[in-house]
């Protein structure tokens, strides 16, 4: 119980070290989730609206990549961005930018795969109606995105949750450097191994609270928007 009280005390007393880690975590994960959502929507829209040879194979590959182990993503990026790697010249290893790229790559197939199901179902549902209007692909896309907005918000949240809870890749490419690349999950690993359980628990509580707060925010936005309809 003492550990739990100490963990809460750290949070309530606004321990700068702790909040620096929380803010960096949020920045990295939200950036990765937004970036992958934008790219995913572009790719998914193309997959939904266009017919092309190899479409099913593309979907199969993307679906398989959903279960890509983050440590493997981290390792591949490490090999590419280390001094001997082909992108070593960029000097990005152990930077938060590379952590964003790592999380982006982990979250991207998840958002594509989930949003494809949602958008494709909506497209099929509205297909005859939209075809009867003989309208442009842009207007069709705008309609199905707008009609799927609630589901897409939930998918974004799923992606953000995946990014926030990810540890394997960011610890490899970020190096868990204090004040630079230390995020909540890597810090929890470190503090637990050092026996600083109260600090680790503080970060764990913060992680859960952030997830609840973001979900509440989305819920309120959804309700306000739906009431306007």
């Amino acid at each position: 119980m003492d550990i739990f009280y100490e963990a809460l005390k750290n949070l309530v007393e606004f321990d700068i070290k702790l909040y620096e880690i929380i803010l960096l975590s949020l920045f990295v994960s939200i950036s990765a989730a937004i970036l992958s959502s934008i790219i995913a929507i572009i790719i998914t829209s193309f997959l939904v609206l266009k017919r092309f040879v190899g479409k099913n194979a593309t979907l199969l590959i993307i679906n398989s990549m959903m279960s890509l182990p983050p440590v493997v993503v981290g390792l591949i990026l490490y090999l590419l961005f280390s001094n001997t790697g082909i992108l070593g010249f960029s000097d990005m290893l152990y930077s938060y930018q590379l952590m964003i790229i790592a999380q982006f790559l982990i979250v991207l197939p998840i958002i594509i795969s989930l949003s494809f199901t949602v958008l494709n179902n909506k497209y099929m549902y509205l297909y005859d109606y939209l075809m009867s209007l003989n309208t442009s692909d842009f207007k069709i896309l705008k309609t199905i995105l707008h009609e799927s907005r609630n589901e897409l918000l939930i998918i974004f949240m799923t992606g953000l949750g995946r990014a926030l809870s990810e540890v394997g890749a960011v610890i490899i490419v970020g190096g868990n450097i204090a004040h630079m690349t230390r995020v909540m999950t890597t810090s929890i690993v470190l503090e637990t191994s050092r026996g600083e359980l109260a600090t680790a628990l503080s970060l764990g509580i913060a992680l859960i609270l952030i997830a609840i707060l973001i979900n509440m925010f989305i819920f309120i936005i959804k309700n306000i928007y739906n009431k306007k309809l």
Binding site: D128, L133, E147
Partner: protein, 209 residues
Amino acid sequence: MKLFHLDNICYFQNNFKILKNINLDINKSGLSVITGPNGSGKTTLLKLIFGLIEPTSGRLYKYDLSYKQSSFVFQNPVFLNRSFFYNIEHALYCSGKSKHERIIIINRLIDEYELQHLKDKNIHKLSGGELQILSLLRSVALNPKVLFYDEPSNNLDRRNLMRVSSIITSLLSKDITIIMVTHDDKFIQDLNYDYTNIILNQGKRINEI
């Protein structure tokens, strides 16, 4: 004046022949009614003439008509999760009308058919009959020269049936061509309007001239 000519049209789906050697002319103005038992290919023929599906063989000729000048009312219409007003507005938006034009058209229609009480209702608060009216108005708003109408009397109570009849009669009086699929003879008789009957049975036209 001829609007459509179907020359020996066949339509297959999964190797099943749904329409067999259909020959047909549809003239401008007036009412054409496609009738026949369930599964005779009525809706498929309607969709094919409209252009939603392509014939497997044979040719469909369209005269003096661009795609944008026709609209389709579906038997089981789908709607956007928005208000009565917005659903009509969306169809007009897709057809390229400006915001100002859209508002004028919708308000005129709502006033003409006395539907002010439905204007701001979400589609989830509309009855089955009111949804059918919305589906019809959404197509009428596009100002079509030809209206394709699949089963207009479907799921309608007496009051909404009369409403639909009056809208159809008013469209016919405005020289709009209506091609309709129905199995409801009484509905057609009640319209009290001369029509061309196209009778289908098992994918074949059985009253071919």
